[in-house]
Amino acid sequence: MAVSEALAHELAEESPGARAWRRLVKRKGAVVGLIIIAAFLAMAVLAPVLAPYDPIQQSWSTIRKPPSQLHWFGTDESGRDLLSRVIFGARASLLAGVVSISIALGLGVPVGLLAGYGGAWIDALISRITDAMLACPFLILAIALAAFLGPSLQNAMIAIGVTATPIFVRLTRGQVLAVKVEDYVEAARAVGNPPVRIALKHILPNILPALIVQATISVATAIIAEASLSFLGLGQQPPAPSWGSMLNTAQRFLTNAPWMAIWPGLAIFLIVLSFNMVGDGLRDALDPKER
């Protein structure tokens, strides 16, 4: 009895963040995903230290060499070391994933709050614009935006961020509609809190779990989108390394140098898989039904 009381007391003392973390690390898939993401992050930050060669240094004596002790992943059509390019490529992919979803969150959450809390004609207007943006298939709208903005990593991130925004608008709006009828929101309104304070202090913290899950899964989508835009030539421009553009070049040398296509693709697959596994784990860890 005393033990269960102590446990209940301890659980009551635990913050929601700590509780979610405790549940997340119980899931093997999510832990594996977190480890791989941490490894890629370290790789991106420490790229100049970890990479054995300069990723853009061309060498005419080492063109399209298969994997060897000198070049673990082999070399590309300009004699550049593929391992170094894959390591530096992590920077573009992770940056694109995080920056574009930050743009989507920065635009989508306030607009969603406004739609959900403002109601009436503001909600109707925002919802119709959101529907219209969601009607344009994700990659086609991103390609069209990147095409009109001009090809560069920065513009690709903006294009992906803007294209992902309606997902967050819709999610935030839906969550707000569910939360705003709760007693604690009514109570906050009854004591005279202004709408902005209610939205930021009382509603936003309660819709955060859903936003965190969606943001994690969206980072995976954004990384694939950046790789896709770079593959098409609309993202990171050569000679700067990017996994997508490396795959574009690799396709031309598939007969003579198939190793060029393996590593960048495997890197995209691993990082996307990790974000998906963490997203799935977070969804379970933050699900109120699991409590």
């Binding site: 219209a132 990659l139 709208l141 069209a144 095409a147 795959l247 995209i268």
Partner: protein, 313 residues
């Protein structure tokens, strides 16, 4: 039913209006003088003047929009600067190719996704279930252009069984058409198969624990009959509508698949247009894709109401 249809059609109008507004606004993102950007390498003042007149760039924005929408509504999506052909004609030429690819992809993903989902649900919490879930996670996380490149290497370069690229229409030579499209269709349908598998699994799990399945089992029906006739029929209702919705997403995926396999479809048209600064084609393709997606949404809703007797009234 008619009332529902009328309501849904009315809801479409504002969405279509905003879609047109978004796609028209893309032109405003062009840096500097839009006429100069649209002309590409061309610097002849007469050509620039003609572009300004054609797209009414010298008029205020609302006027430009009204003329553009007026053109769209009468079937005029502008003219390709590169190919000197109406955008609508180009789209009409390429659309059947992408449609064939998308339909094949849906067929492949339905066969793989639904059967894997049903097996996974029936064998819940067994090694088979875990394996199917892992394959689904792999399917969702694999970029389809990488999968395409790897399959080209395996089946075209290494084994030599299938062509690496190109396209032959089914009316020209059916078998050759199948050989040129089977790999791209598989690549396109891969992630959709994974999504379908997850949906089918959860719908099946729900159906398997329902009262009517328990009754069917209590009557002494064979498990096979219970799964296929009672549980699966009910579980597949939402899956059918998901299939219609995903056709739009597949159009998006087709951009990369067609690029990898050099298939002259809708996706390749938009990419080629992007690099040739053929902005009217980019706008036209985006508009047609979005409209197709909206109409598929409507069809999915109608199908859902027709399939589900409880919603018919």
């Amino acid at each position: 039913m008619l009332l529902f249809l009328g309501k849904r059609l009315l809801q479409l109008l504002p969405t279509l209006f905003f879609v047109s507004l978004i796609i028209f606004s893309l032109q405003q993102l062009l840096p500097g003088d839009p006429a100069l950007a649209m002309a590409g390498e061309e610097r002849d003042p007469a050509v620039l003047e003609q572009i300004r007149r054609q797209y009414r760039l010298d008029q205020p924005l609302p006027v430009q929009y009204v003329y553009w929408v007026g053109g769209v509504l009468s079937g005029n999506l502008g003219e390709s600067m590169r190919l000197k052909e109406p955008v609508l004609t180009l789209i009409a030429q390429k659309f059947p190719v992408t449609l064939q690819l998308a339909l094949m992809a849906i067929l492949i993903s339905l066969v793989i996704g639904v059967s894997a989902g049903v097996i996974s649900a029936v064998k819940k919490n067994t090694p088979i279930d875990y394996a199917v879930n892992l394959v689904a996670l792999w399917g969702i996380s694999t970029p389809n252009f990488w999968l395409g490149i790897m399959l080209i290497f395996l089946f075209a370069v290494y084994l030599g069984w299938l062509p690496a690229s190109g396209y032959v229409g089914p009316l020209e030579d059916f078998w050759l058409s199948l050989k040129t499209t089977i790999l791209p269709a598989f690549v396109l349908g891969n992630s959709f198969a994974a999504v379908l598998m997850r949906h089918t699994r959860s719908a099946m799990l729900q159906a398997m624990s329902s009262d009517y399945v328990r009754t069917a089992r209590a009557k002494g029906l064979a498990e096979r009959k219970v799964v296929l006739k009672h549980a699966m029929r009910n579980a597949l209702t939402p899956v059918v509508t998901l299939g219609a919705l995903e056709l739009g997403t597949l159009l998006s995926g087709a951009v990369l698949t067609e690029q990898v396999f050099s298939i002259p479809g809708f996706g390749k048209l938009i990419v080629d247009s992007v690099f040739n600064r053929d902005y009217a084609v980019v706008q036209g393709v985006t508009l047609v894709t979005a409209t197709t997606y909206i109409l598929l949404n409507l069809l999915a809703d109608i199908a859902y109401v027709l399939i589900n007797p409880r919603l018919r009234s």
